[in-house]
Symmetry: C2
Subunit: 148 residues, 2 copies
Amino acid sequence: MPPLPSPPDRITQTLVRHGLRQTPVRRAVLAAVAGKGYALSGPEIEREIGPGTTDRITLYRTLKSFEQHGLLHRVPDDTDVLRYAACSIECSAEAHFDNHVHFRCGTCTHTYCLSQVAVPAVALPGGFRADRRHYLLSGTCQLCQPAG
Amino acid sequence: MPPLPSPPDRITQTLVRHGLRQTPVRRAVLAAVAGKGYALSGPEIEREIGPGTTDRITLYRTLKSFEQHGLLHRVPDDTDVLRYAACSIECSAEAHFDNHVHFRCGTCTHTYCLSQVAVPAVALPGGFRADRRHYLLSGTCQLCQPAG
DNA sequence: CTTTTTTGTGCAACGTCGTTGCGAATAGGG
DNA sequence: CCCTATTCGCAACGACGTTGCACAAAAAAG
């Protein structure tokens, strides 16, 4: 009895949709970032997928590729490391649609994507043309609140 | 005829107000950042004050000190370098009051402080407590608009 | 299935930004 | 002017991220 072709999983679909090849590294990186509700830095992703899975160079190249193809977006931060989070499903290489607020917790240091909170609009002075808006809050998250 | 004591300039005042000593490096760094309407990175400040004025280590220590004492604030960015801008006059070591929008121009790469544009409020999910808000726009600034 | 081509991976080496430790210099109060 | 706490500069270091090139793997072609 020949094995039935199993339906493509979510990660496979995502890679296919953005025209990227299936490779173990890409699957691992995507799996590590996609599940999280918060943004991960390069080193964090490295730890997440296991140090032996890939080397730093390939990881950073993968992240850059994912960003360009609309699978991940950079999350601004007031630190000197870059952080990435999974894009919403309708993002593409041409345009991003991640207009949600980010929240950085000073205690657990996670930067959460509050996907249910939209970025409010602002009126810009004449001459400024914005194509991307980021709203970043810092404070204490749900899980890190002091008891009381 | 003895020279009259000249009135303390703005930079002297700022250092005194925050309880910091007057040193050439601090005056130079403060002068470089205070005039600008946009945020500067460490290397940019270094270039601004002249490479021979100080070495990197002292510069970064100065920036950290200024940040802690409320003279400068970090401006979030989606790059891996830290950028600083001058605080408004009422900022102190205890609290910052720079609730203005920042605008990053992709052409000239400057991150402007739009001090006249306030950061709009958002409603947070229960449990999140924010003490600092950042609003960052990216696009094209007044000076870099394509003609037409 | 095999071959070809295209694309991704890993190694080595490197550049930049930012940091620690410690002795020398300096600001500011007596 | 002198003393003391603070700051500066040097040396060395560490982390993050990047480039160039040879090899390997994935997709496409036969």
